[in-house]
Amino acid sequence: MQNKLAQVFKKSVEIRVFETMIASLADEGKVPGLVHLCNGAETLQSAVCLALNSTTDSVTGSHRSHGLALAMGADPYKVASEILGKADGLSAGMGGTQHLLAPEVGFLSSNGIVGGQVPMASGAALSAKVLKTGGIGVTFFGDGAANQGAVLETMNLAVALQLPMLFVLENNGFGQSTSAEFASGGVSLLKRAEGFGLQTYALDGADAKDCIEKVETVVTSIKAGEGPVFIEASVPRLAGHYHGETAAYLSDCGGQTDPLKILNDHIGDISEGIWRETEALMVDVMKRASAAPVPSQDLLRKFHTEMGGQA
């Protein structure tokens, strides 16, 4: 377990440092799009992805997926380059911050449409089932997304077809500026998932040890054919909806405990070295990504022609 905790810590630090540096680059005007940072959810994401197999399992994520891509093992240089709109990006700068695709490490895609990624993960689950790969489909989405038809329909579909699928609801208390309590006015979201016949687990995203253990159990059970599972994990949203947001409601995000700080304290001595190493590494990553060439327009024109565009 201590080893696993260290792994989760290391990955979480990687994500936090990555996001912090992206934020700085954004402040310098070097990031073309608006970025949605995942600060607060790193330990959860790292713990879940630790239990996954990047060859057979497939993950889809929301607009807030920088960390998730990294947690699955995507190359930080490629992710940063994509966010900066560079030729070396995962998708040569075509997708950008909300559209990260790293299928080579099991990160199928992230999405600009709230909830849009969830049905796709059921497709990955179906592939695993039909092709008998032993893999599962996993999807991450927010408390706000939990009210989208795409998400709700997929909960039922996964149960009806008994798909090997894991739903991970990251409840950070907000959908943009709207509180989760207001938007999902009923009982708990866990109860809702239960109502669809899903097996459910509640996780505290700040309890890394518990996250690691429960997720392991869950993934094992799904792989054993015991049906789809729904996890609701509470995580803080330590930043604005997007980086740079200044709206009044934000004061309510302050003062939340930082799961990474808790894990850091738990990890003890080795932590400082990991931070230092990671920072050095990421400084280099960001430097290279910043210096990387912008994409050439040939690929776009090629798509134009292939998609039936006028000569």
Binding site: S91, A92, M120, S122, A125, L126, V130, A160, G309
Partner: protein
């Protein structure tokens, strides 16, 4: 061999599933009777998928809940991870409920992945008015769908093309919408036993003529043909072009025809396709046009139910005759 469109499509499904284990079929009632614990069901509300489950099993032939967003999205995800799904959306009118998955998700994966992956999925659906199915079971949305970059759209008018386009669609790396006309399922035609694939972006000259070019797809090909028969009796020579796929569109064939005839009528029961053809011919073949191009399309309203109203709404032979005569100057 003579087959109807639904028979040809059914046969193509059998061949495709036989040839490649990765091919799966899913949709509402495509098995039929799911959960009732019986054998053979409906085989789809138009019978196109009948017999598949008996041969290929419920693992690959999947009845779904009435959750188009979820199962079209499942098709997308499965296509991104190794399967080749054929997904049935019963009527194209229902695409409203899953439009995001079609036009934002499926259509964009290729670009968003920088070309590394795509969505080799076929969505089969129906279109077409004429049987009093009302405003939400009768639309033709190929014009609308063709405005979404990243989608390919095929609209067969006969059995050989239906089967052949389905085959090409499944081979294609990109999402393809195959639009089958409800009113043509029982139309019979000669079909080669191996159901040869029909290339995308290659239209067909349905009938040669030098007086005027009519461009039409799906059922409107047949309506135009009837008009051409009538006009032929008066010596009029109508050329009919069926582009078969409207995205990509065989502009070469259309332009060649207009170069010869100098006159263009586009007949269509959707909104947007006729405009697309006319604007491209006007741009790319302006010099060929000897008169203003014309379109014969439905009234700009939702589709009415009462048979007389619906016929009034649909492009009619009489309207086509008028358009042709005005242009040819008889």
């Amino acid at each position: 061999m003579m087959l109807s469109i639904s028979e040809a499509l059914n046969k193509a499904h059998h061949q495709l599933m036989e040839a490649d284990e990765r091919v799966i079929v899913m949709g509402e009632d495509i098995v039929g009777g799911a959960g009732l614990g019986k054998g053979e069901g409906l085989g789809g509300v138009f019978g196109v998928t009948s017999g598949l489950v008996d041969k290929f099993g419920a693992n690959r032939v999947i009845d779904t809940p009435i959750s188009e967003t979820a199962f079209v999205g499942m098709g997308i995800g499965s296509a991104m991870t190794g399967l080749k799904p054929i997904v049935e959306v019963m009527f194209c009118d229902f695409m409203g409920v899953c439009f995001d998955q079609i036009f934002n998700q499926a259509a964009k994966v290729r670009l968003l992945s920088g070309g590394r992956i795509s969505v080799p999925m076929v969505i089969r659906t129906t279109l077409g008015a004429g049987d009093s199915s009302g405003a939400m079971h009768s639309q033709a949305l190929h014009g609308l769908l063709a405005t979404a970059p990243g989608l390919k759209v095929a609209c067969p008018s006969n059995p050989a093309d239906a089967a052949g386009l389905l085959k090409t669609a499944l081979e294609d790396d990109d999402p393809v919408i195959l639009m089958e006309h409800k009113g043509l399922y029982s139309l019979e035609g000669e079909v080669a036993d191996d159901l040869p694939p029909v290339p995308f972006g290659e239209g067909q000259v349905i009938r040669e003529g030098c007086d005027i070019t009519i461009v039409a797809v799906s059922r409107m090909v047949h309506v135009a043909n009837q008009v051409a028969d009538v006009l032929a009796q008066g010596g009029g020579e109508v050329e009919i072009i069926d582009p078969r796929t409207i995205m990509p569109l065989d502009m070469n064939l259309i332009l060649k025809s207009v170069q010869k005839t100098g006159k263009l009528v586009v007949v269509d029961e959707s909104f947007g396709f006729a405009e697309m053809v006319i604007s491209r011919v006007s741009e790319e073949g302006f010099g060929y046009l000897k008169a203003a191009p014309k379109k014969v399309i439905p009234l700009h309203t939702p589709i009415p139910y009462a048979p007389g109203l619906e016929q009034e709404w649909l492009p009619s032979e009489a309207q086509i005759v008028t358009a042709v005569k005005e242009l040819v100057g008889e």
